[in-house]
Symmetry: C2
């Protein structure tokens, strides 16, 4: 038994975060349609504020805090997009954000967090160190921990991207979303279940960090050991709450190699003139590697983010 | 006396080309607003089919040909975006497109033309050679020459970008468009005059190819001698027909250096996650160089195109 949010609950979340987020465009590309032999609709969360869908979930989590919970701010550990998203969401409500980041986090991500007023505490680049430093910080400050994906308010926030996609493109055969911790994929699956009929949901994962794919097959969480992928946004281990939705609502999880992911990223940049990070391009990459599954179908792809170091491209 | 198209004529053009073009999104960026101290609305023609606004004018020109004119196809000379746009527009009507391109045209532009079925004839990289080879080609084939900007149907097509922008953002203080041959700027000025009140129109030009700026000041066309700018889309000389509109309807033309243009391009890529070519970034660049003129205003910027060699970025 899992407790799936209702359509009304997701719509309430969409109304709540609407004043803060971008309604991102859904773009199409005739030339990529030709490459894939299918009709593709790209939901451009790379154009979301703070550069990724993460801002939806972070905003919903921050805005649903009770007034008495807010006085000491929010906290999280993240090397990536959730850190910037939470900082901006907190700033919008006038709250402090305490962010634990690994020492080796890319400078561009550190700067983004600082730009949104987040207060950074550095830690060692291990999960153990991240969690230890975060616990200490939460004890010291009294800030509320907002988990990047193992949090129902975060998941309902991420669900609004697929809701908007389905509002514009109601008759999709399939929606593809990247999967890492599982917040976006589970939110996507919830909205596909609530707001469409006959739209199947597929997760896309790098072959070098395929714990969600294995977990779905095994029917239980197989922890991720040593992720090896260019997708810096897809190196987290699948969360328990997202997995409870994914195992029920997601039809399949497919993988692609880093080579195909880089190729897909280049195709999107070149043909669509938008900047996506490798973690977003994995959606097109699985279509390229498993073309036969998608032929002649109408397919939505959630382009999750666009935070890339422009001085260091993978081609 | 100039004969300005009517609102009804521009709307008819918009209706005519609608089935073929993308209605491109208007995007905003809180962080670029902060940098500029103004409220900016970016009309993203870099996301247009074939990667630039040129497809609007080319489509209108091709679709307004009389049936008896079409049997032998269309022709043009261009090293850039008009070549690809005309090839695609011709393909959409089932016509041949003959394109004269200089031998040194970037491979990416050659491939784009070929991808849309354009038939390329190479020429020397001089205007004289381009025109000579084109004339010969037109004589041999009987194709109709579609000039990239000195053509009323092309200008009316380009005007639809600003029409769409004003439909979404009706109360702009100002619209900024790049200027080279003048097709986009004159179309923009026509739509601003017809579909808004109190919206001033500013052209943006690289300092190293500032013939439109000089021409507007002199009240007559000052030909461009030796353009030196990174903006490969802005090296054409101002056309007589666009100039007749520009001198009447455009309030000012401002310039920016290549350094500022590259900086503006990087800001747009980094903050907005979209790919613009230098010729589009010149609009933001003039805001950076002449900040005092734009303070606290609501400003529309036409991002003209996104065709960039991703293997050879200017930073």
């Amino acid at each position: 038994m899992i407790d799936i949010p209702t359509a009304e609950e997701i719509r309430t979340v969409a109304d709540r975060i609407r004043p803060y987020i971008h309604r991102t465009p859904v773009l199409t590309s005739a030339s990529i349609n030709n490459i894939c032999g299918a009709e593709l609709f790209f939901k451009c969360e790379n154009l979301q504020k703070a550069g990724a869908f993460k801002f939806r979930g972070a905003t919903n989590a921050v805005m649903t805090l009770k007034p008495e919970e807010t006085s000491r701010g929010v906290a999280t550990h993240s090397s990536g997009n959730h850190a910037a998203a939470l900082s901006l969401a907190a700033q919008n409500r006038g709250l402090k954000a305490f962010i634990v980041m690994p020492r080796n986090a890319p400078e561009i991500k550190v700067k983004a967090v600082q730009g949104y007023g987040g207060q950074i505490t550095l830690c060692e680049p291990t999960l153990a160190s991240r969690e230890e430093i975060l616990q200490k910080l939460v004890r010291q400050t009294g800030a509320i921990f907002i988990h990047p994906y193992n949090n129902p308010q975060v998941i309902m926030g991420q669900a609004t991207a697929c809701l908007e996609l389905l509002e514009e493109c109601p008759n999709l055969d399939m929606v593809i979303s990247p999967v890492s911790g599982g917040g976006l994929l589970s939110g996507t699956a919830i909205s596909a279940a609530l707001f469409s009929s006959g739209t199947s949901v597929v997760g896309a994962e790098p072959a070098g960090a395929d714990d969600a794919c294995r977990s779905l097959k095994a029917g239980k969480i197989i922890p991720l050991a040593n992720p090896e992928t260019i997708c810096d946004g897809l190196r987290a281990s699948l969360g328990t709450l997202p997995f409870s939705y994914i195992r029920t609502l997601v039809d399949d999880i497919l993988t692609a190699t880093d080579n195909t992911i880089i190729k897909a990223m280049h195709i999107i940049w070149e043909r669509m003139k938008i900047i996506v990070e490798p973690s977003a391009a994995v959606t097109l990459a699985v279509m390229l590697e498993h073309a036969e599954l998608f032929k002649d179908k109408r397919i939505g792809l959630i382009l999750s983010g666009g935070n890339v170091n422009l001085e260091k491209l993978p081609w």
